[in-house]
């Protein structure tokens, strides 16, 4: 099937990602989106704004986040120099808060008095609720009812932080439906409300704005690599749902041609079953305010995604990722639920770090990458979030499959000399 022909009238100014990006929203929202497109570059270039952003990241979020070597993980997967960029150590436990701080600062600058957000795993919702509490702003978070059920802890955290969590029953009752509902709220309340989109998606300028705000991950990591390793890494690896932690770390390395950029998406139960592998199986479509790849049927209806990780359970992907792949600057792999669970378990045992299920997808890709790039390869992984929120899900899977998993882990340990890695 041929892709949709490019829109010849759609200038690069509307997103700047080749045929991807754009502003595909109802007219009611266009003035607000245009205002953001006008105001964001001004805010970002304003020294006072940048100073506020940096100060809050330092004194409240806890940046810079450390770069941690993972020698025992490396030994277990056949070598390589593995370095972990520790976004899990940020306040609220993931990279999401970097973006929320910047967008809420922008909302204040624009005189908006109410904040809304969507959330999948709940990390973006918690981060938004946190920043709203910090600034004393009312906050409404839309969350698919399915996700509310599987992320009860994060729902409670948001409520404790003073946010109102509105479960969304429509459609698949997951992230894409939460985005739909947040867009409807925004349409109705656009005069006083800012919509804090949590990933590098949505209408222009969101994909660029969220990238700018997450780029701190890559800028820090690049400097840390030069300082600690004495060179740039050979590869940078990150998991991809909408794609904000990946774009955040990639952004600082895009102009370093020697550094491979590798995104890892969720293959769910396998690419022939239920999955969230937009790069592997998606086609060009227009949805959620943008033109990008999306899982859809022949009739242009969005399909329900599946991943064990709520944060990757999204049928679309940010337009810059589609563009990076089209240009050949980044490549994308797919990791299934089982592989992610095994990687979560492995990092926990080898390094004493329990990663988020999302992050575990990036970790699960390392073994094949080391085999491909060689045992001396220097690989930087974005450890995008911590796994506390996923313990309920992981416990459920271990209850059901504990014997098989433990057996596989043992076999894996002996084959790959788990005990040999030392610090």
């Amino acid at each position: 099937m041929a892709d949709i022909p490019p829109d010849s009238d759609s200038p690069a100014a509307l997103g700047d990602f080749g045929q991807f990006g754009g502003r595909y929203v109802a007219e009611t929202l266009m003035p607000a989106v245009e205002q953001l497109a006008r105001e964001w570059p001004l805010a970002w270039a304003d020294e006072a704004f940048r100073a506020d952003y940096s100060r809050i990241l330092s004194e409240y979020v806890g940046r810079p986040s450390p770069l941690t070597p993972a020698p025992r993980l490396a030994a277990a997967i056949g070598g390589g120099q593995i370095w972990l960029k520790r976004e899990d150590l940020n306040h609220t436990g993931a990279h999401k808060i970097n973006n929320c701080v910047g967008q809420v600062l922008l909302a204040r600058r624009l005189g908006k008095t109410r904040i809304i957000a969507e959330t999948g795993a709940g990390q973006h919702g918690v981060a938004t609720a946190t920043v709203c509490a910090y600034f004393g702003l009312p906050c409404v978070v839309y969350m698919g009812a399915e996700d509310v059920a599987r992320q009860a802890l994060n729902v409670f955290r948001m409520r404790l932080l003073g946010a109102e969590v509105r479960p969304v029953q429509a459609g698949s009752a997951t992230l894409k439906d939460a985005i739909n509902e947040a867009l409807r709220d925004w349409v109705a309340n656009v005069a006083d409300t800012h919509y804090v989109i949590g990933s590098v998606m949505g209408p222009d300028p969101y994909p660029s704005m969220v990238r700018d705000l997450q780029r701190v991950i890559g800028d820090e990591a690049r400097a840390q690599c030069l300082d600690r390793i004495g060179s740039l890494p050979d590869a940078v690896v990150a998991c991809v749902g909408g794609g904000s932690n990946a774009i955040g770390i990639f952004a600082a390395f895009i102009d370093d041609p020697g550094v491979q950029l590798i995104g890892v998406e969720a293959a769910g139960e396998g690419l022939d079953g239920r999955h969230a592998a937009t790069m592997s199986r998606g086609e060009v479509g227009v949805y959620h305010g943008m033109r990008s790849l999306v899982l859809q049927d022949d009739d242009g209806q969005l399909q329900e995604a599946h991943s064990i990780s709520a944060g990757l359970d999204y049928p679309g992907i940010g337009p810059e990722h589609a563009y990076l792949r089209e240009r050949g600057r980044a490549r994308y792999l797919a990791i299934d639920d089982e592989q992610a669970l095994a990687a979560l378990s492995l990092l926990s045992r080898t390094e004493g770090i329990i990663p988020a299920l999302e992050t575990a997808h990036a970790l699960a890709a390392l073994e094949s990458l080391v085999a491909e790039l060689g045992p001396k390869a220097k690989i930087l992984v974005n450890l995008s979030g911590r796994g506390d929120k996923d313990m309920h899900t992981v416990m459920g899977r271990l209850d059901a499959e504990s014997l098989a998993l433990v057996e596989r882990a043992r076999a894996h340990s002996s084959q790959t000399k788990l005990g040999e890695g030392t610090r």
Binding site: A2, L14, Y24, V25, A26, D177, V187, A188, G285
Partner: protein, 273 residues
């Protein structure tokens, strides 16, 4: 490119003007709740006095629609609705109502997908719509900046392109929208999704419509939140058409008779006098 001859849309607004009333633009989601009953609803609404039919293409992620139309789209998709199925409905309506204008309402993706599957691309798809008896496209998530991908082939196939003006649109945008529009201009009455509560007598709506009147010669139809004859009565003197959507969808859930009865009541309220 302009229409070679006055189309059904222009003719319908002209006819209503001659009768001293606003046109009743009626929206129904195609295939709600399935092909057969959906067709019965469409026929009932058209026979009862809808002047312009707005036929909705179900979409999985209708971000501009409120609960009533969302639910209709969910019902339709569950019943196996496809774009082809909705076009078959349009064709069936056309065979019964030769002069009735049919506006195809859709989100961009199902249409763009169909363009990409048509051997002759967007031009071929739009020509096929025209041949089936569709008169215009109304695509809610293609603002003027992004519309050319469909608007150009639609105009080439002599399909009208309905422009959507919002209460939030600044003057420069309004001019861009009406300039790109043909057929009629759709004035969104409120800042919100379809089916929200509307004060049809509000001063701000009145000035919004007056302002728009000064910007275009095209007929203006106002919609979003219009559900009762009293609202139609209040709006009719100010505009060329009044759009009713969610209320028809809701009435249609009770069957063709309640739907026809509502349409008749709304139609009776369109008089400008």
């Amino acid at each position: 490119m302009s229409a070679v001859q006055p189309g059904r849309i222009a003719a319908a607004f002209e006819r209503c003007r001659g009768q001293g009333r606003a046109a009743l633009v009626g929206y129904l989601t195609g295939f709600d709740p399935d092909h057969e009953r959906g067709l019965a609803s469409l026929i009932a609404a058209c026979e009862a006095g809808v002047d312009v039919l707005e036929l909705g293409v179900p979409f999985s992620d209708p971000t501009a629609d409120g609960p009533e139309i969302q639910s209709a789209m969910v019902r339709a998709l569950a019943a196996g609705a496809t774009l082809e199925g909705v076009l078959a409905l349009a064709s069936a309506v056309r065979s019964r109502f030769a002069e009735l204008p049919i506006v195809l309402f859709s989100y961009a993706n199902p249409l763009l997908r169909a363009c990409s599957r048509d051997a002759a691309g967007a031009r071929g798809f739009c020509q096929r719509l025209r041949d089936l008896g569709v008169d215009a496209l109304l695509v809610v998530d293609l603002p003027p900046e992004q519309a050319s991908i469909l608007r150009a082939p639609a105009r080439a196939a002599n399909l009208d392109w309905i422009g959507l003006c919002a209460p939030t649109s600044p003057p420069a945008r309004l001019d861009k929208i009406v300039e790109a529009a043909s057929g009629f201009v759709y004035a969104v009455s409120l800042t919100g999704v379809t089916g929200s509560a509307l004060d049809a007598n509000s001063h701000s709506l009145r000035s919004q419509l007056e302002d728009l009147r000064g910007r275009t010669q095209l007929p203006i139809a106002v919609g979003f939140g219009v559900r009762e004859p009293s609202q139609v009565r209040a709006l009719a003197p100010q505009v060329d058409g009044v759009v009713v959507g969610s209320a028809l969808v809701k009435a249609g859930r009770s069957g063709p008779d309640p739907l026809a009865s509502l349409v008749a009541d709304l139609r009776a309220a369109t008089s400008k006098g």
